[in-house]
């Protein structure tokens, strides 16, 4: 990576951090965006860390492993999410499990931190599992609505865009420090998963 590009990337990264740390009044988690069910689905995904973080972790991992992994994940993950979502729509209403979220955080974050050398097939299977399980929870949690299918479509579109952008960003990373930063992000995700497990255990014993 040449100096100019590195400098620009630093600039963008710092600007993103600055924007993220500069709070302005937000009106998040409304029932509806007022822009239709597709945008409701997009917003739901972006505002739900239990969905967003596993997608980011998987996309970061796929990007770290290379363009082939990124391409595979890019289509398997949203496809499985869509399938899981529509299965969930037909299933009885369920709520997401904290333990399940913790396990995904731990597994995907751990793989990313360790830069584990999974085969393409195993990675694709993992993406399919992530997509099916999260899609199912999304679909079954929506309740009866004639627009629920469109919400799932919006959600899956957001999954596609986020995983595409994230994996593409990491695939292009050549500097060693950049790839290490991605692995550090994995360790943070795994650590959050461990803490979540602890929270779940405390909740189970009534703490």
């Amino acid at each position: 990576m040449n100096g100019g590009r590195a400098s620009r990337m630093w600039g963008w990264a710092l600007a993103a951090i600055a924007a993220a740390m500069s709070p302005t009044p937000a009106h998040a988690h409304l029932n509806s965006t007022g822009m239709g069910p597709v945008y409701d689905g997009v917003l739901h995904f972006v505002m739900s860390p239990e969905d967003l973080i596993p997608v980011l972790a998987l996309a970061l991992y796929a990007g770290l492993r290379g363009a082939g992994y990124g391409r595979e994940t890019l289509f398997v993950l949203p496809g499985a999410w869509l399938l899981g979502g529509f299965i969930g729509l037909a299933a009885p209403a369920t709520k997401g499990s904290v333990v399940l979220s913790a396990i995904w955080f731990l597994l995907l974050g751990g793989l990313l931190a360790a830069n584990a050398r999974l085969s393409l097939r195993v990675t694709a299977a993992l993406a399919a599992l992530v997509g099916l399980s999260h899609g199912y929870v999304n679909g079954s949690g929506m309740g009866p609505s004639m627009f629920a299918g469109m919400v799932v479509v919006g959600l899956v579109g957001a999954v596609f865009v986020v995983s595409a952008l994230t994996a593409a960003f990491v695939v292009r990373l050549r500097a060693e420090w950049g790839r290490i930063a991605v692995r550090v992000a994995g360790s943070w995700i795994a650590a959050s998963g461990l803490l979540l497990l602890g929270w779940a255990a405390r909740a189970a014993r009534g703490g």
Binding site: A18, S22, A28, R183, A200, G207
Partner: protein, 201 residues
């Protein structure tokens, strides 16, 4: 100063300006989830004992260079989270306050003396200290917060403290910087002695 450094300095100045004009946040009105993230983020930086030890990990990593400079900050949050999980589960760990104070003393001494043990020994030592810090946090975590956002904020703050230490530690490339880092290590160790005294009092 090269053009690259000048650009970097300009961006840093811009970042500081943006951070200094922070406004009131009214986000996430439904369940206080933003409060969960912010509370989690504030927790590790609220205690000086934790701050000193975690910055010292970054300083030491910067002194040791690659691969320790990234291995230690990767290992610490994960092992600390393991300690936090044990604390949340109610698994007792004796002598936590002494362990935390000892971590500041030993990490400070390691920075002060520029100790260079084998990587596995450094990682093991940092991991043991991380257990104490994590357990203390785990037993202190408040009930009723958004667990996921709180955990993410908590881990992110820990990582930022390491990053701050590594950032400060980049001055190690200059001879005056090495002297400053050693002095910082001594200050951390003195802080650790104070924490032992406080734990005994």
């Amino acid at each position: 100063m090269s053009a690259r450094w000048r650009t970097g300095a300009l961006w840093m100045a811009g970042l500081l300006l943006v951070l200094l004009q922070a406004q009131t946040a009214l986000a996430h009105p439904q369940q206080g989830q933003a409060a969960g993230f912010l509370t989690g983020f504030q927790h590790p930086i609220a205690g000086l004992d934790h701050v000193l030890a975690m910055v010292a990990v970054g300083l030491w990593g910067a002194q040791l260079g690659a691969p320790a400079v990234w291995l230690l900050p990767v290992a610490f949050p994960m092992v600390m989270a393991l300690g936090g999980m044990l604390g949340l589960m109610g698994v007792p760990l004796p002598g936590i306050e002494y362990g935390i104070a000892a971590s500041a003393i030993l990490l400070g001494a390691a920075v002060m003396l520029e100790v260079r043990p084998p990587l596995a020994v450094a990682a093991l030592g940092v991991g043991i200290f991380a257990i104490f810090h994590g357990h203390a946090h785990g037993t202190e975590l408040p009930a009723g917060e958004s667990a996921l956002l709180y955990s993410m904020g908590f881990v992110a703050a820990t990582g930022c403290l390491h990053a701050a230490g590594i950032g400060i530690g980049t001055m190690h490339r200059w001879s005056w910087g090495q002297a400053v880092l050693r002095a910082a290590g001594a200050a951390v160790a003195v802080g650790g002695v104070f924490f032992v005294w406080r734990a005994l009092a």
